[in-house]
Symmetry: D3
Subunit: 248 residues, 6 copies
Amino acid sequence: MKLLIVNPNISHSVTDLIEAEARRAASPGTELTMRTAPFGVAYIETRAEAAVGAFATLNELAEHHEGHDAAIVAAFGDPGLAAAREMLPIPVVGLTEAALMSAAMLGGRFSIVAISRRIRAWYQETVEMHGLAGRLASIRCLEESLRDIGTVQTDKGEQLQALCEAAVNEDGADVIIIAGAPLAGLARSIADRIPVPVVDGVSSAVRHAESLAALAPRGALAGSYAPPPVKEWSGLSPALGALIGRKS
Amino acid sequence: MKLLIVNPNISHSVTDLIEAEARRAASPGTELTMRTAPFGVAYIETRAEAAVGAFATLNELAEHHEGHDAAIVAAFGDPGLAAAREMLPIPVVGLTEAALMSAAMLGGRFSIVAISRRIRAWYQETVEMHGLAGRLASIRCLEESLRDIGTVQTDKGEQLQALCEAAVNEDGADVIIIAGAPLAGLARSIADRIPVPVVDGVSSAVRHAESLAALAPRGALAGSYAPPPVKEWSGLSPALGALIGRKS
Amino acid sequence: MKLLIVNPNISHSVTDLIEAEARRAASPGTELTMRTAPFGVAYIETRAEAAVGAFATLNELAEHHEGHDAAIVAAFGDPGLAAAREMLPIPVVGLTEAALMSAAMLGGRFSIVAISRRIRAWYQETVEMHGLAGRLASIRCLEESLRDIGTVQTDKGEQLQALCEAAVNEDGADVIIIAGAPLAGLARSIADRIPVPVVDGVSSAVRHAESLAALAPRGALAGSYAPPPVKEWSGLSPALGALIGRKS
Amino acid sequence: MKLLIVNPNISHSVTDLIEAEARRAASPGTELTMRTAPFGVAYIETRAEAAVGAFATLNELAEHHEGHDAAIVAAFGDPGLAAAREMLPIPVVGLTEAALMSAAMLGGRFSIVAISRRIRAWYQETVEMHGLAGRLASIRCLEESLRDIGTVQTDKGEQLQALCEAAVNEDGADVIIIAGAPLAGLARSIADRIPVPVVDGVSSAVRHAESLAALAPRGALAGSYAPPPVKEWSGLSPALGALIGRKS
Amino acid sequence: MKLLIVNPNISHSVTDLIEAEARRAASPGTELTMRTAPFGVAYIETRAEAAVGAFATLNELAEHHEGHDAAIVAAFGDPGLAAAREMLPIPVVGLTEAALMSAAMLGGRFSIVAISRRIRAWYQETVEMHGLAGRLASIRCLEESLRDIGTVQTDKGEQLQALCEAAVNEDGADVIIIAGAPLAGLARSIADRIPVPVVDGVSSAVRHAESLAALAPRGALAGSYAPPPVKEWSGLSPALGALIGRKS
Amino acid sequence: MKLLIVNPNISHSVTDLIEAEARRAASPGTELTMRTAPFGVAYIETRAEAAVGAFATLNELAEHHEGHDAAIVAAFGDPGLAAAREMLPIPVVGLTEAALMSAAMLGGRFSIVAISRRIRAWYQETVEMHGLAGRLASIRCLEESLRDIGTVQTDKGEQLQALCEAAVNEDGADVIIIAGAPLAGLARSIADRIPVPVVDGVSSAVRHAESLAALAPRGALAGSYAPPPVKEWSGLSPALGALIGRKS
């Protein structure tokens, strides 16, 4: 089993966090290829940043997916996920989606704990896009600004734990989703201190990508996730162009 | 990894179909314990039959869950699933739920193909209960009555394939879910003839149960899926009573 | 007019409360048959307890419905209601359902006041199942544990009244539903102190059951509430088996 | 028990149909006061006609409600219902609302059978306003124009029965609502030929109005159904003005 | 371009506020005809008052629409809007609707700031009627009673600004709608002090009415907004009767 | 008034169609700047193509927005719209959004008529994203493949008209939206033959962009549409980078 994991933002330190958690979660024998977006922003919090990250992610996936059994869009918010799923011949999973699916199988309603106030609207819209807003108890977030995206887990550990507890006690969450690639691994380290199951996007995505690759090896030939209709294009990388259409 | 799989109806031939597909889907090293409801009906199609199956399933799970890493409620419609999840200290997955989660990660909208007209309302309500009705394209079903629940796959193979095609072409399905334990394995055999990914409840449940056991080994201590408050009970099996409350 | 009222839990003191309120609410000439579940728990707060109560209720209804014009599932949360409606040839009403219908005809949005925190998720899901979540303003509950289910009305009267007032003033409730059989009759006694109409499940169920019996004397022969398809069964009581299928 | 029944349109022949069915449905001892709108249209099919009917109905209710225990807005579509409920000190029920409540307690999903194509949008919006669109299977209607609103039952009896059957067989209805005051009584006469329970607005409204009067004798003093804030008015009938505000 | 603007309540001082803001917002060359309801209440806060205002508005529109390119129902809550749209051959816009459309194009979620607590339920229902409740962040309102509807802007300016800020900071509003004709013009005067776009019903309605008149000059001849079917009527003004039906 | 109109695909012939319709719709004195995406595909039908178009559009908007009062994303499906709205200091409108707002003010439910089957899923998701799916009657589309995107109006005129009629007669549409930039202007030419108002995205967007520029000249400083938080970026155009963050 070979998985391609693309970090849609440009932070190699975040890619390292993702990789570490992905290796802890992967089944024996699963190999990981890590890619970091070559352009974009340090951390995606907004719809505009997500649009940039989506395009960078599609390019990376187009360029590197061959030889892999499944791929992962490794930013919470799933930038470019539906586009990638439509375009690639292998299963593609996003961090938000994967976490939502795990959470949905562990309880009734779930809360998302996130690292900034600004990021909430984007997460809310992502949950709605996946059709699961009816099961979202709340999105809670750190209110103060971050010093360093790479050390948020140690700088803000206590506040993050308090947010989890408030989600359970005040919002009625049965499950907590720790959101955002910079928090990859945090779920694992604080799970013992939270009284409900804690779910993480990276580990969920790795496991679900493995499952989809095992369960459904063929891509769609019909419906809205079939390969795009052949059409003229210009100004794209050869790999992306080859997936999206033919050059006139 | 040890999984407990309970068939909520009394048909041992259906348990055999479930077991065969579960073994094909399971990861290497996963061990399966199969149980068949000791009372109830031959095949669950209605809310009343599901209520009976739910009680039988809770009894089996209470009696046999010890020593397992996760459990599966192996009837489409998930009788007793939420109750079992609340009661047991290990993850529990249902066939409908598992198939919905797989389908949601493979496309936008999905259709369910089922073996009888009567069963549709129950399936519809199950999808609504899981909060995913917004992604359901349609439920299509065989209209004629079945001769034998054990041979439906061979008797009705062509009609089932036609239902899949109609769901894609007329209802806008991106993914097909083949529903009902008596059809376990059918997805695998007809996948090549259907132009979209085909998902099966049994294999999805096995893979997702494995994933949940790996990802979230602890049960809830708070929230609405925590163990039930201790209270008086009577007339239950010792195992079920021990999980639900204390004897006065 | 003869009504069969089944208390899905094993507490005879609760059955007595239900009976007292039912007699106050019933039209002249209506006769009541009271039944208490012979197995199960003292008070239903969880999905697992509701699954047990549903099975017990179906057995009681199967055994005793003959000669009655309508039946009532007398626990808030309506355990087994849809199953009973499908199975019996007479109208069946649940306490939650009946209270929701009364409340919907008295105002715009309603709140439910309940006796424990744990019970909220189950009530929320019940309202969703009835398709009326869009009109639910809130569910408020007692936070401290109860000493005695039979004396909750006197022990907690002031707190329950405060919850009603908060629902009106803070949550925008136009109507209050006092939930849970142990509170049967409370609505009647505090109605004068609450500034909006107060609705009770037991009295609503008695009146609506009478109305349905008068309005729609025949059961469904088609659709998803027709009698279940005949099928093999085993291990059920003769009465339940006779309603659900035929013995092989 | 005294009920005030207002027909929001000007057709005395329709008032007679309503009265006949209301008398068949009423409990022993219930007295009925019938009123017909003194201005408006012969039969309400559109939003504009409903707005006219609402105003006429409010005037009739203001003028005549004293001495009654409950009131009924006797046009399907419930023109002015929420306004009347807010304004009057007694319970008020509408035909659509009453039929929806009966239907919701008799099955899962219901269809409405109506007498003209144009009326469908208004009925759809009425069901949405009551928050029960999620349980509506379909609205089916006569397609040809009516010769005479007073004889639609005899002129179109077979077509109406065919619409009921199509709703059950094709749309998945568990219950049929026969809509529109001109069809009052039709449900009663064709019930034996329809394989699911058939519900009628007039008889449901009579029974539910009786129940509300028995269950909840006080009106709201707070919330959005409390009496309107006192304010200046002009140009209204003394009775309506007295209920809505004070003359400056 | 000629616009007919009808104030559904009897307050000429409010009509003056509406006119002043409408003139500020109108494109060069747009002419305005102002009408005030000849009967009804001083300010509409409730469903009953809205039903009265709807009838008064329909009469004014019927009497005066000829020679205009579009019309505006100038009370927040849009009394009679759908009825007017159905009845008139020219486009008709309501204040709530117009403000919602502006807000929806300026951000994701919006809050409504209103002048009394009682008015909230009616506004909530209006947003739901327009199908945009999913984008409503909150409705915030002044809690104390008003001394004078004509001077609310100066009496309550600071409190209104505080409500706007709370909507942004606590409810997640991206846009603020200042609701209610008595606040016409307030949006313009406080916009600089609110950190998100502020939208006003009157100015939005004027601009959108101009746009609809320019874009879609013909009325519906089919569908549920076609002219009402011809039918008997009585007791209406000749103008209203001529639009609604023919005199028998 | 100066509007910047960006065509998110690379077809200059489509840009010409958009410009011609935009000029017909614009108010006197409005100036238009037209831009065509420098890279991407000939016509956007899929999520992947939309992701590419979104990025190209953001680049064009960043590069050219200065000196304009509002901007238009000129592809139905609104690629990059929310991102652009968040990023730019001026109002931004999309074709789908603009058409939905016009349609919502002209009737109750609307249908979209589109040029290919494949494009339906993307349009459906766009309507859902705007929160107006509850008012969508249907999306109807041409089934056969197109010979030439530039001549679809003449090649397929009759079929498109038939789709409009079917939407009105069979789906209950009160308004028709002619979707897709290649059909710009078609609404204008066939409006006389369709019995309900016909709405076009380009003309609606031009008028609504003018209105927003007139009504709400300031951008958000708070909420989820405030300018993105400053952060590191790399590999973006200077104009896009300047809007999204600061270079490290």
